[in-house]
Amino acid sequence: MNASLTSKFIEVQGVDQTFKTAKGLFPALRGIDLTIAKGEFVALIGHSGCGKSTLLNLIAGLTTPTSGALLCANKETKGPGPERAVVFQNHSLLPWLTCFDNVYLAVERVFSRTESKAQLRQRTDAALALVGLTHAAQKRPGEISGGMKQRVGIARALSMEPQVLLMDEPFGALDALTRAKLQDELLEIVARTQSTVVMVTHDVDEAVLLSDKIVMMTNGPAATIGEVLRVDIPRPRSRVALAEDAVYLQCRKAVIDFLYTRQGHVEKVA
């Protein structure tokens, strides 16, 4: 793989997104330019309603931009596809399928042409084992906790061996302890799989702990990228050690400063 593709794996070029609403046109995003390198972990952070999820959906191909272009591995994004797996905010598991079948659905779609059924089942088991849910494989989503559901969602995304993992506030609905545990698991998994990750979050600590680059967005309407912060903390990172790390604290302060001093609260603007 050549150097330019490695450094510009995902490219967002001059993207505008305008929604038609009952009250007229609503400019959600304006003039977004962003490049993400292969294997990079990028966090999108901003106040609620600033269009973080809109940008993620654009990268996923679930929506098409009003103007501008999106490229993934030098190819224009024309729609969603299994090479860009999405972990949804509310896990979006199918409630009538067991955890195993939820993951199997994804595995089957991606690998059924080249692999046998036994191999597909093996992949599914491996994905569930990766998130520590082998014991819950035959349970339905209604029978397991919120954190477990989110882990199945992550297992489903990872099982497709995607080039990019897109996560929309994956831990937003969880309690603080479960969230911390899953963040640690995610760090480990990403280190092992060398995935490219784009994660939407509104949690400053989460962004600094997990990412190589934090993309801070200005308040909507017509939100854009306000600032991009590199997080130069070596990996593997440990939550406990980082609590007193100077670079960590500096990054954290920079993000908080951007969010609360310079962007203020959305409520005040609205």
Binding site: P80, A85, H91, S92, P95, L97, R109, P141
Partner: protein, 317 residues
């Protein structure tokens, strides 16, 4: 917020059928638990009295489950007896009707020619018509509902037609049935078909339109084929709506069959009612009313059970 957009007159019919039943059940369970808790507290004070108190709580919840319905039934029979007495037995009383019912149900399956058959045959004949008419309606209506729900063009194309035809009393279609099929029995089935097809089309279409966007996003990210989307996402998620449609359709069909058979004659519970009216045998009419009610109740109960079994927890959004 989003769900408010979808509010339509159909809403009243759309919550899955099972909901009423489980909430009732949990209430009785909660009642039982509350009283058990209360006796538990008392029990800790008195010690040895505890088991006896438990029995008291159990028998109380038993009576609360049995007594109110018994009172309702008693009220009905009481009023019936009063009406019967004040009209000088022109409407037979409960006791006479009961005796007649016992003699009728001691031999429900006799045949003395085409116009004199046991009540069992009449009920079965009506159920058969409902089953055929309803079955045909399901075969046509459910797939129609799927495509109408899935494609906006078809939905806009058929909505005016459905809105126009749905309010028409199914009996208005009976003469058309007689004209086209040249027979009483197919005409009655045709009437059942017409009245049961609307709830199935509408509920299936609404179910398809309300498949959560999250599930469809999963389908899009995975690039699932249209067939795979239909079998693994659309069908299971529409099933509760569809079963509500089925339940409404069977309910309406059972209402309509009585009226249709009164007009077409032959064998059937509706015909039986009309025949007994011509014989001025009011006791049998009253019995028929109970039989129609009980059969309807059983159909409803079975379909509610079926719907509960296929209703899964939704993703909270």
């Amino acid at each position: 917020m989003v769900s408010a957009v979808f509010h339509s007159p159909l809403d009243s019919s759309s919550p899955p059928a099972g909901h009423a039943a489980p909430s009732n059940a949990t209430k009785t369970v909660a009642d039982g638990a509350a009283s058990a808790g209360a006796t538990g507290q008392n029990g800790s004070k008195t010690g040895a009295a505890a088991p006896r108190r438990d029995w008291a709580a159990l028998s109380r919840s038993f009576w609360m489950a049995v007594l109110p319905p018994a009172c309702g039934l008693g009220l009905l029979i009481g009023l019936w007896a009063v009406v019967s007495a004040t009209t000088g037995q022109s409407i037979p009383g409960p006791a006479d009707t009961w005796q007649q019912a016992v003699s009728i149900f001691s031999d429900p399956f006799y045949r003395n020619g085409p116009n004199d058959q046991g009540v069992g045959w009449n009920v079965l004949a009506s159920l058969e018509r409902v089953a055929i008419g309803f079955g045909l309606a399901a075969v046509v209506g459910i797939p129609a509902g799927f495509v109408i729900g899935r494609f906006t063009f078809l939905s806009r194309m058929f909505n005016p037609l459905i809105s126009l035809l749905r309010p028409v009393s199914p009996l208005a279609w009976l003469p058309i049935g007689l004209l086209v099929f040249k027979g009483a029995n197919p005409a009655a089935i045709w009437t059942i078909f017409i009245c049961s097809i609307w709830p199935m089309i509408i509920n299936t279409a609404v179910g398809v339109q309300r498949v959560p966007q999250d599930y469809m996003n999963v389908a899009r990210v995975l690039n699932l084929s249209e067939w795979k989307i239909a079998t693994t996402i659309l069908f299971p998620s529409v099933l509760p709506y569809m079963l509500t449609g089925v339940r409404l359709a069977v309910g309406t069909a059972w209402l309509v069959i009585v009226a249709a058979e009164m007009l077409t004659g032959g064998v059937g519970i509706g015909f039986w009612v009309w025949d007994e009216w011509n014989n001025l045998n009011v006791k049998n009419i009253l019995i028929a009313i109970f039989v129609i009610g009980i059969v309807g109740l059983l159909l409803e109960y079975a379909l509610v059970k079926l719907a509960t079994a296929f209703t899964f927890e939704e993703v909270k959004s």
